[in-house]
């Protein structure tokens, strides 16, 4: 089989870019061709202008893509120099984006699904939940954040038609106090699921993966790695596999079967 390349370089312009929480921003970008190509769980690699000494692109997943409007919705945390620079891009400014990168969620009809998100892992999880509802599944969503002001996605979870939405905060400033995994244990005890999807801090996803495996429920996890190109050219985004060796986060992932991954 001949290898093929599906990733392209596109221009984008910013329609809006505003804070929606503490260090959490929501950007709507216009990039009509890319908006028509992206599948939930895939990601893009964005060149953020403003500092020529920072050459690496910013890989980001997305919360929603509207092929009709030609727009993509990003929700991201301004945690490093690059994402802080991204947060300063104003409406009308533009740059280039590489995408669509990687493989998204594997969405198929089935039974009840549970979507578990931590922090800024929420955007791809919201995209997954929307796709799973569209595939005819009942979907429950657990959203966790450190604090209330860092939480994003609750309204989106309700709007997409989630059956149940559970919010946790580490400090108890909103919703249930504690971690998403504690809420997940309770839901697993109450209901039968046949799929879990998750994205968030690695330690959280490892916990989610363990709980899903113990309950014999399939689990897909969207992983994050330090990443350079995003399209399989540099081999820097390796993910250790339980069976030994590595897979590439940008080419084999970012969505992996959780039981494959050496957490």
């Amino acid at each position: 089989m001949q290898p093929s390349a599906k990733v392209h370089l596109y221009d984008f312009s910013v329609r809006s870019n505003e804070a929606v929480g503490r260090d959490v921003f929501r950007m709507v970008m216009e990039s009509p061709e890319l908006a028509g190509e992206l599948a939930p769980g895939q990601f893009m690699n964005i060149a953020v202008p403003g500092d020529a000494s920072h050459i690496v692109r910013i890989p980001l997943s997305f919360a929603g893509a509207d092929a009709g409007a030609g727009t993509i919705e990003l929700v991201y945390a301004a945690v490093g120099e690059g994402t802080r620079r991204l947060s300063r891009m104003g409406a009308g400014s533009g740059s280039t984006v590489v995408g669509p990168c990687g493989n998204g969620w594997r969405v198929a009809p089935g039974g009840r699904a549970l979507a578990v998100a931590g922090g800024v892992g929420a955007p791809p999880v919201i995209a997954a939940a929307r796709a799973l509802v569209a595939a005819g599944r009942d979907v429950d969503v657990i959203l966790g954040a450190q604090t209330k002001d860092r939480l994003w996605g609750e309204k989106d979870a309700h709007d997409l038609g989630a059956s149940d939405v559970v919010v946790t905060t580490d400090d108890g400033s909103y919703g249930r106090r504690g971690f998403t995994t504690q809420a997940m244990e309770d839901l697993l005890a109450q209901r039968d699921y046949d799929l879990v999807v998750t994205c968030g801090p690695s330690v959280m996803m490892a916990g989610v993966a363990r709980l899903a495996e113990a309950a014999h429920v399939a689990c897909q996890a969207s992983l994050e790695r330090m990443m350079t190109c995003g399209f399989g050219a540099c081999s820097t985004c390796n993910v250790a596999m339980r069976a030994g060796g590595y897979k590439s986060c940008c080419m084999d992932g970012p969505v992996f079967d959780a039981e494959e991954v050496a957490w």
């Binding site: 001949q2 370089l9 590489v98 190109c229 399989g232 820097t236 250790a240």
Partner: protein, 308 residues
Amino acid sequence: MVSKVSMAVDLGGIRMKNPVNTASGTFGNGWQFEGFYDVGELGAITTKGCAAKAWDGNPAPRMCELPSGIMNSVGLQNPGVSAFVASYGEYLAGLERRGCRVICQVAGHSVEEYVRALELFEELAPFASGFEINISCPNVSKGGAAMGATPAAAAEVMAAVRPVTKRPIVVKMAPHDVGEIARALEAEGADALSLINTIPGMAIDVRTRKSKLSRPTAGVSGPAIHAIAVRMVWEAHKAVDIPLCGIGGVTSGEDAAEFILAGATAVSVGTANLVDPTAAPRVERELEAWAESQGVSDINELIGAFEC
């Protein structure tokens, strides 16, 4: 616009239609870039380093950003020559037919492993126009940079691989003692030299006191090392007569032109491929425009034309 300048160059028997090559490890095996442009337009590509048997490479994290560059510790992850050819041989043979020279990079932990890997390439990769022996990877514990650390060690590898193939052999050099090591490699029959590989560096997370990558040291690349690379190409140019491929922080035609003036016959685009996937053909266009602005009819007139 039809260029008035002849851009074809000969890198030690690898006849390239223009001087632009790609640095191994920054270009996958070529096909990843077909969604961005016609890779067949490049002078050559150099494939990811490949050993006789598969290597896992280093644990994560393998990359961190630095001012005007990156540092990587991939550790030559590769599937082994047989699997490499099975996966990409058909594509690479097609790329050769499209006029882009394919240079396959050869990795090893020991002299014997380089010989074995090159023997496999010689047998399984008839499409390759030449081979690049990587004796300068800073990210592996055995072999890699140690194999090219001294003139004697470099000469030993070169003497051992020379009888394996009649096709051109390029040797990728580490960023130190380039004059002496270049002379040793030339004496053992190297057809061309490529330099520089990444420069060993460190990045420490001062909060945890640990390396930002999975190993204490890793290789620095990108615009940050360009000036150092130009100086080393100039040193090698003064030391040997075989052609050179300049590598290090090329992001524009101007960067490439500096290498040509310092004595390089060809130029590889490396880290820039990862941040601007269309960098290599743009560098070629800009290099061609520069050559034309210099009033020459052949880019070869500009090789080593640095005035001092």
